[in-house]
């Protein structure tokens, strides 16, 4: 991580650091990319001042699950627009999925994406690699080579698809364990989901849309937990959406399995009754589930079954969404609404404390992704590299996708009145978002 000679003073914010809770008003001085001092009444000699009154000063957010679409689908998003969206949402690290064209299934594509992130210089862009070559589910991709290249790939996933062949998944886990890699599983029994458009249930019947049964996810989750326990490989379950999945994970954790999981803001906020408008921005995979599933997911967040909040930021162009429901692409953007939903839905309703929610966006993903390999720290303490998000938890705003920095605007939250907004983001000791404006890279 490159240093920066800029001197920054964050004034009068309340500092959150995992394990230490939230402080009272205090100043944070940053110099040469490092947090130099945390104290009251620091003199701003020669420093750029960032006002943080009424704000929380948090470690930068980490998103384990985004789609940046580069290479191959730059009309939806690229590393540049994705980075701008990320820092607008307070993220200093984003891990991008390999379902690009060509897919990230070898070291050269992984290094390309990683280097593009470095060039943009707004946040850390860490590519996940594909489990299988071409994401085809047939032959293993070179995890060792991807792991030892510049991008130091740790997470492997065929996200968007599932590794249907259990034998291949078993061998992938054995191999990943040897390489000290993490398997991130998109769980879906595709024979149960063919043609599916939304959660199977009363609403799919009412709307005449083909259903995607919960069991399609649960069968996949159960299989992968079994294989992880057999092989002792580290497994991370992506975008959990059903009550039964939460139970399977709760039980696995009770057995001390090496299993972690994530949920998305849309899965903890929305249920399938919203689909009555046929808004294609609500078409996601896994689909929005029933209210009972949403409640179970919230319980999983509250009791610690769910480790991580990740957005599954999935940009799509207007013409791919402004079409018949069954022809629309799956996915919604999420980087720029994540914090607001976390605060408005989880914190305001007492599902999680603010500290508890932030931990799932900072410390937990940092641990799972082992970001210390990059010299990254998810803490705010003197001597730590400065990756910081300053946000106002009480700031009320109305979501307007046209204001998003992401190239795509496919959000169903347009018009929602929400609470919580990122004001400043500091990456590697440099201000990349100041007063909600992205700061172009210094030449």
């Amino acid at each position: 991580m490159r240093g920066n000679s800029q001197k920054i003073l964050i004034k009068k914010g309340r500092v959150y650091s995992p394990g230490a809770g939230i402080s009272s008003e205090i100043d944070v001085l940053i110099h040469e990319g490092i947090i130099k001092r945390i104290d009251r009444g620091i003199q701003p000699t020669g420093a750029k001042i960032l006002d943080a009154e009424g704000c929380i000063v948090s470690p930068g957010f980490i998103d384990m699950h985004v789609h940046l679409r580069e290479p191959g689908m730059e009309y939806k998003e690229d590393v540049g627009s994705g980075s701008r969206a990320a820092v607008s949402g307070g993220f200093t690290v984003v891990c991008c999925m390999p379902n690009t064209d060509p897919p990230i299934d070898n070291a050269s594509v992984a290094e390309y994406v990683f280097d593009r992130g470095v060039d943009e210089g707004l946040c850390m862009v860490l590519p996940h690699g594909a489990i299988t070559q071409g994401r085809g589910g047939k032959a293993l991709a070179p995890m060792g080579e991807m792991g030892s290249c510049r991008a130091m790939v740790r997470g492997f996933s065929d996200d968007g698809s599932t590794v249907t062949d259990s034998e291949i998944m078993r061998r992938a886990m054995e191999y990943a364990r040897t390489m000290d890699s993490l398997i991130i599983s998109h769980c879906e029994d595709v024979s149960l989901t063919a043609g599916g458009q939304m959660n199977e249930g009363f609403y799919s019947t009412l709307l005449g849309l083909r259903g995607i049964p919960r069991e399609a996810e649960e069968i996949g989750v159960f299989r992968d937990i079994c294989l992880s326990e057999k092989t002792n490989a580290e497994l991370h379950i992506a975008h959990v959406s059903t009550a039964e999945t939460i139970m399977l994970l709760r039980d696995a954790k009770r057995r001390n399995s090496r299993v972690t999981c994530e949920v998305t803001p849309h899965h903890f906020t929305l249920d399938d009754s919203y689909l009555v408008t046929y808004d294609t921005n609500l078409k996601v995979n896994p689909p929005l589930r029933s209210r009972a599933d949403v409640e179970a997911v919230l319980e999983g967040l509250a009791d610690g079954t769910v480790d991580v909040i990740a957005t599954d930021h999935a940009p799509h162009a207007l013409h791919e969404k402004e079409t018949e429901f069954d022809r629309a692409e799956f996915g919604m953007v999420g980087l720029e609404t994540c914090l607001a939903l976390v605060i408005s839905v989880l914190v305001e309703n007492g599902v999680l404390s603010l500290e508890g929610a932030l931990e799932k966006m900072t410390l937990a993903p940092s641990r799972i992704m082992r970001l210390e390999r990059f010299g990254y720290s998810p803490l705010i303490e003197e001597g730590a590299p400065a990756n910081i998000t300053v946000f106002n938890p009480d700031f009320e705003w109305v979501v307007d996708p046209q204001m998003f920095k992401s190239r795509s605007k496919n959000s169903p939250f347009a018009g929602w009145k929400v609470k919580g907004k990122v004001i400043h983001t500091i990456f590697s000791g440099r201000v990349v978002l100041e007063n909600m404006e992205v700061k172009a890279k210094l030449e």
């Binding site: 019947t205 005449g208 259903g211 906020t269 079409t323």
Partner: protein, 334 residues
């Protein structure tokens, strides 16, 4: 844990439903749920007076003279397309019909662009048949005219339900308290969905007759009873509504074979002749003789089924008149 209902907390969103068939804004017919029971009865009454028009030597009234209606049939259809076309013509509207094969849709134009193009030509209503559920609702966002759903995917076919209710009411003299059994592939049937909604609204009771593999999830929550036995249904019902069975459901493993379907769920000659009290048999067409209904039985009940077709024109005249004609929907002839 309490449910954080976004509608009641810091997050809020107004769910936008389309304007219903009430005066004021632009009016559409997208779903039976757009109609109240009073709306349904009013439309059926209005259809009765329009039915009379079709019996005249000159089958035409000037009710919609100067109005332009586009029939947009993105999915193939014969009877519904002809029925809407005749309904429009008998109301003296100008009507243009286009089908998917002969349209810009087949050249890859999006539904949005196609719709905008059509409406730019000055159109009062679009009647749309589409294989995608929700397409008519989508259309209302893009066009500044009335939209009428003529069948969208597995979602709904509201005018079919109205003509079915019309037929039941004319034949049996009432709707409230009527016992209607719907037999067959409920899962794929927009006709079944619209009929269930409409029958519930007017106070009829609905029994679905099918193997579980042909029933969609959560259908019970729509207010129906379910049985796996057609014989039980035949003892109970006033109306036996048969749905068309398609061969491809066999390859989808919905049931083992057409032969087995006929044995379990077909209105066979044996079942029919055994009945002391015979129900009104209805079918949305086209019938598969020898599958859901024996040919002999089909011949016997044919007047009812062709009656449904005739009612279709009258009901669609009533719908078009209600949407385009004036403040109230009664009495189309002048």
């Amino acid at each position: 844990m309490s449910t954080p209902d976004p509608l009641k907390t810091g997050v809020s969103k107004t769910l936008k439903f389309d304007p219903l068939m009430h005066s004021g804004t632009r009016r559409h017919l997208l779903s039976i749920n757009d109609l109240s029971s009073e709306d349904i009865i009013r439309l059926l009454d209005s259809a009765r007076s329009f039915a009379e028009v079709s019996k005249r030597p000159v089958k035409k009234v000037p009710a919609l003279r100067g109005k332009t209606i586009v029939n947009m049939f993105i999915e193939p259809s014969t009877r519904t397309r002809m029925s809407f076309e005749l309904a429009a013509k008998r109301l003296s509207a100008d009507v243009v019909t286009f089908t998917a094969g002969a349209s810009s849709i087949s050249k890859g134009e999006s539904l949005k662009d196609t719709a905008k193009t059509i409406v730019a030509m000055g159109v009062d209503a679009v009647v749309i048949r589409h294989s995608s559920a929700g397409a008519p609702r989508l259309l209302t966002q893009w066009v500044d005219c009335s939209v009428i759903n003529a069948g969208d995917g597995m979602h709904e076919h509201p005018t079919q339900a109205l003509l079915d209710l019309y037929t039941m009411r004319e034949r049996l003299g009432k709707l409230e308290g009527l016992k209607v059994a719907i037999v067959g592939d409920i899962d794929h049937s927009r006709v079944a969905r619209s009929n269930i909604l409409a029958l519930n609204k007017v106070g009829a009771s609905v029994l679905l007759v099918a193997p579980r593999s042909l029933l969609p999830a959560g259908i019970e929550e729509m207010g129906v009873e379910i049985t796996g036995s057609i014989d039980e249904a035949l003892q109970w019902c006033d109306v036996l509504y048969l749905l068309r069975i398609q061969l491809e459901r066999v390859s989808e493993s919905r049931f083992p074979s057409l032969r087995e379907y006929t044995l379990q769920y077909g209105l066979t000659q044996t079942r029919w002749s055994r009945l002391k009290r015979k129900p009104l048999v209805m079918h949305p067409g086209p019938m598969n003789r020898g599958v859901e209904i024996a040919s002999v039985v089909a011949d016997e009940v044919e007047p009812v089924i062709t009656g449904q077709v005739a009612a279709g024109v009258a009901v669609r005249m009533a719908v078009l008149y209600e949407l385009l004609g004036g403040p109230t929907g009664v009495g189309g002839s002048d």
